[in-house]
Amino acid sequence: MTVLEDIKASIPALRRYARALMRDRDRADDLVQDCLERAVAKRHLWRGDGPVQAWLFRILINRYRDLQRQSPQPGHLVAIEDLTYEPAQGGNQEASLALREVQDAMARLPGDQREALLIVALEGKTFDQAASLLDIPKGTLMSRLARARATLRLLTGRSAGPTLTKGPSMGAMK
């Protein structure tokens, strides 16, 4: 596979991760396009030290962080019409979470927790891979993951147990 073929093959995963990070379809694809343009411009410098996909994720994450710094969106709320996926209705509430609730809750996570949770839970990266992609120590990754999961649990109204008595304030979560 050439670098370009590798890049092309990574687009679906990049889109999935970007969509989950950004929520908005167009803005997510903007992020992916930006990432692709950068990667393509630097493809001749690619030394082949590791998977192309990991390189792309790093570019995407860095770009995402740039965007976050430019226009941070603390707890941006989501209009129902923004949902591109019709959440499953009914069903066994014990067995499955309401997707809209999860989507809303994800949007209210701090960016660094969202990055961490999605790279592991959605993209299936190992902790070592995830820490490397996010350029953070593994311990930091683990604590972000734990906080992200606890916050998500709290925000989806399924908080149980004494570890979550801090309340939903974002300040306390950071």
Partner: protein
Amino acid sequence: MTDQTALTDAELLDYAAGQLPAEVMATIAARLADDPAARATLAEWQRQNAALEALYQPVAREPVPDRLTDVIRRAEAEDAAKATGRPRARLWLVAATIAALAVGAGAGWFARDLTAPLAASQTLAANAMRAYETYVVEVAHPVEVAASDADHLNAWMSKRLGQETRPPDFAAAGFTLMGGRIVPSDQGAAALYMYDNAQGQRITLYIAPQGASSTTAFQFAQQGATSSFYWMDRDLSYAVVGTVPREVLRSIALAAYDQLI
């Protein structure tokens, strides 16, 4: 194992990820049996994973928007253009050779070693560029023998190089012969012809003998603003040097090749 402390988040994360040695996994599994809160946490995490999967996994199966695949397509087209650009130049050289042979240029040489980069050819470029730098700045004596004295120039150059040598005509590229001089080279006397155009830009053609017969394709060298196309053809090596745009220099090199074979 009922007296164990509650499992920590870190332990649970590792356990959920299955990224622990088998014996540690077994130990945690045993402790989970007595830790309903931890079991509930694990179950909740699994539901979170399932929800995230349900929300975003479909994105990866969507058709990729054109504006994203276009980025790749453009790059592929660029690479393809670059990849075919070089062979086309070589094909041109082969074609020129065949054409030259067809008009009876005599001893056949074949398109061998066309791409082999030779140390000797790099020396050639360096010598030719040095000669250019030395003489192109001359106002009073840019050449030893002026173009107006063509017979003398041709006789002299042919004698010193040991074979019939005449300067090619670059009028098509707008350059006319000023004259020539003899300059030193690694293999004895070399000819340096100088040309200029209406704007006063100067280029040189350097022709040096070679120790051994060899043939190469055109090669390009650049040093600061000065660039050179150079090549070897049987027992002579050639280099055109100038500060003109690369395409202009290239057309001059092609004209020289055509006329000198």
